[in-house]
């Protein structure tokens, strides 16, 4: 059973009188543990695809099965629970809450999920250590560098131990060096079995993924994984 199974997905937006097909005729399977890079020109539907995968958006047509369950028909609250427990987001602009400290930002998904404070503190302490942020626990986001902010964001995305991490241009606001660090962190997570889907403009970074999807006008133009089955066997095996 694939972790992600999209079939016949269509996502349309109405812009004035014209309909934009942000996604059209999309069929896609992603196995658990895969490392997928989504590439393609601006406006090709990469973010729309990622939002859909993260249950932040619903398709107009088609079904999305996550871990074998049709999640398109879930109620908003059920979708929120799936987001809370199974999915972690990393954004280009970090999206940290400015008034909360690094530790509080990392704990936020657990706070929202109603996990007791003691448990939260335990996990946050570990995460701060794992991501090299022990000295930054009480710093507000504006006291952190870009790389540190994205590390906080990644720590936050992983704190609920999700099966799937979705990163939309996570290095877009970082210089090459810190971007490299962030990618290493994400790849390390993938190495521990977390499924990783990264949207990127950067050819070199995309090439590091074991599978590349290339989007164009809302359609899947190329899928390296679909052709290379052995690659897949290597990951899941």
């Amino acid at each position: 059973m694939a972790l992600i199974e999209l079939s016949g997905i269509e996502r349309r937006f109405l812009l004035g009188d014209t309909t934009v097909h942000a996604l059209a005729g999309l069929n896609l399977q992603i196995e658990a543990g895969e490392y997928v890079a989504v590439m393609g020109p601006s406006g090709s539907g990469k973010s729309t695809l990622l939002n859909l995968l993260g249950l932040l958006d619903r398709p107009n047509v088609g079904t999305y099965k996550l871990e074998g369950r049709d999640v398109t028909t879930l109620s908003p609250d059920e979708q929120a629970t799936v987001r809370s427990t199974r999915i972690g987001f990393v954004f280009q602009s970090f999206h940290l809450v400015p008034r909360l400290t690094a530790a509080e930002n990392i704990a936020l998904p657990m706070t929202l999920a109603g996990i007791p404070l003691a448990e939260r503190n335990l996990r946050v302490t570990q995460a701060l250590k794992d991501f090299g942020l022990d000295q930054r626990a009480d710093h507000k986001p504006d006291q952190l560098s870009g790389g540190q902010r994205q590390r906080v964001a990644i720590a936050r995305a992983t704190i609920m131990q999700p099966a799937l991490i979705l990163a939309d241009e996570p290095t877009g606001n970082l210089d090459r060096h810190t971007g490299e660090e962030v990618v290493n962190l994400l790849e390390a997570l993938n190495g521990k079995g977390v499924t990783l889907v990264v949207v990127t403009h950067d050819q070199a970074m995309g090439a590091r993924a074991r599978r590349q999807l290339v989007m164009e006008d809302g359609r899947l133009k190329a899928d390296s994984g679909a052709a290379d089955i052995s690659n897949l066997a290597e990951i899941s095996g």
Partner: protein, 402 residues
């Protein structure tokens, strides 16, 4: 999200934007403070008047010469010339009336008091032994007027505190002979000092037997007859019997006015109570305005924090969680505002009492409770709309607004 976490999240959000938080807390506190201070003023006025009336005596029925058109209280009756005078015998006829506990005639005038070469003008009240208990006067020294035949008063006087002070200074006053007008009177009692009130100032008063006063002023009319009813319930019946008795004595003519302090008091009480309520209502409008302000502040907060709301949704927050967080924030703003306003109001009332000690400017409990709960309720009600708007935001759209 846990309740404590929701509250902490709301608190951090509120303190994270000090400007708008201060603004809404201020608006709410001004509303509550207005309710507290204005009702303290209104209720203070009511208490002051009621207190002053009560100091005239309890369960008092007063007979005035002259007929009043409406039967109600009309100060003009006090000065209009009357067809038939009230006499000591009129007063005496009321003594055994059912429901009347005490009766005292009252004749008043001004005269001079003279002792040891010291002379001053005084107010003279001619009455009987029961005058002092009816009016709730208290004696500092000696005793009141003796029980005796009302028409043959003995040559004695009870003097006010200030007169004693001026005439006798440090020397004993009781037993001394003073000259009042053309009479030599023995001082048998000194009244306690009362200060200025709604009734007469007893400090400069000399009380003498009523027949003596009439002789002094060369008249046989009374200024008032005062009757103390047995109880509050006995007042109406006694009032009717008083009216009937005097009418019979005056050959069937209703040429007197009988007022009860009770009726006057009730009128003032009602009037000032209504005033307090009206004032509280006006102040409550400022609370509603504050509620609308809190709503606007929260709507601004939702707009300001759209990106954050999108993030919370991405992190797995349910609509309910977001609604509660924003509602808690609105509730917190109004709760703190209400508390600050309550303290400000009490401080204001306290200051008023410091400057005007005779004026009991205490806010009534009902006003405090109503003010506080209105503040909390408006804060919550006006917080619902922004909270729902926040919870309904589309996460993708919201995330783009960062």
């Amino acid at each position: 999200m846990r309740l404590t976490d929701t509250l902490r999240f709301a608190r951090d959000a509120a303190t994270g934007y000090p400007m708008r938080t201060t603004l809404s807390v201020l608006a709410m506190s001004i509303g509550v403070a207005a309710v507290v201070i204005l009702t303290a003023l209104g209720d203070g006025a009511r208490r002051y008047v009621v207190g002053q009336f009560s100091s005239l005596g309890t369960n008092l029925i007063i007979v005035l010469p002259g007929r009043s058109g409406t039967g109600g209280f009309n100060p003009a009756n006090a000065i209009t010339s009357t067809p038939r005078d009230l006499t000591i015998d009129d007063a005496g006829s009321l003594r055994r009336l059912p429901g009347a506990r005490r009766v005292a005639p009252l004749a008043v005038g001004t005269s001079e008091i003279n002792y040891g070469g010291k002379l001053r003008e005084v107010m003279v009240a001619g009455s009987t032994a029961e005058f002092i208990p009816i009016r709730n006067f208290e004696l500092a020294q000696g005793q009141g007027l003796p029980e005796e035949d009302w028409n043959r008063g003995s040559s004695v006087a009870v003097i006010g505190a200030k007169i004693r002070e001026e005439m006798f200074g440090a020397n004993p006053a009781i037993g001394q002979l003073v000259r009042v007008g053309d009479r030599r009177l023995r001082v048998i009692g000194v009244l306690k000092s009362t200060g200025q009130g709604l009734g007469m100032n007893t400090d400069e008063l000399v009380i003498v037997p009523v027949s003596l006063a009439q002789a002094m002023f060369n008249s046989n009319t009374l200024f008032r007859i005062m009757i103390e009813a047995n109880s509050r319930d006995a007042i109406p019946g006694t009032k009717d019997r008083v009216m009937e008795t005097i009418k019979q004595r005056h050959r069937g003519e209703e040429d007197i006015t009988v007022i009860t302090q009770d009726a006057v008091l009730a009128t003032f009480d009602k009037l000032l109570g209504a005033l307090t309520l009206a004032v509280a209502g006006i102040a409550a409008i400022s609370l509603a305005v504050a509620g609308i302000l809190v709503m606007n502040v929260m709507l601004v907060a939702v707009t300001q924090r759209t990106g954050e709301i999108g993030l919370l949704k991405a992190l797995g927050a349910t609509a309910r969680t977001i609604r509660l967080a924003f509602l808690a924030e609105a509730a917190m703003l109004s709760a703190v505002g209400a508390l600050v306003g309550y303290l400000l109001g009490q401080l204001g009332a306290f200051t008023l009492r410091q400057f005007f000690p005779v004026f009991p400017a205490y806010p009534p409990d009902w006003a405090v409770i109503a003010g506080l709960s209105t503040a909390l309720a408006t804060g919550l009600i006006f917080g619902v709309m922004p909270a729902r708007r926040a919870a309904r935001l589309d996460p993708v759209q919201a995330l783009m607004k960062h």
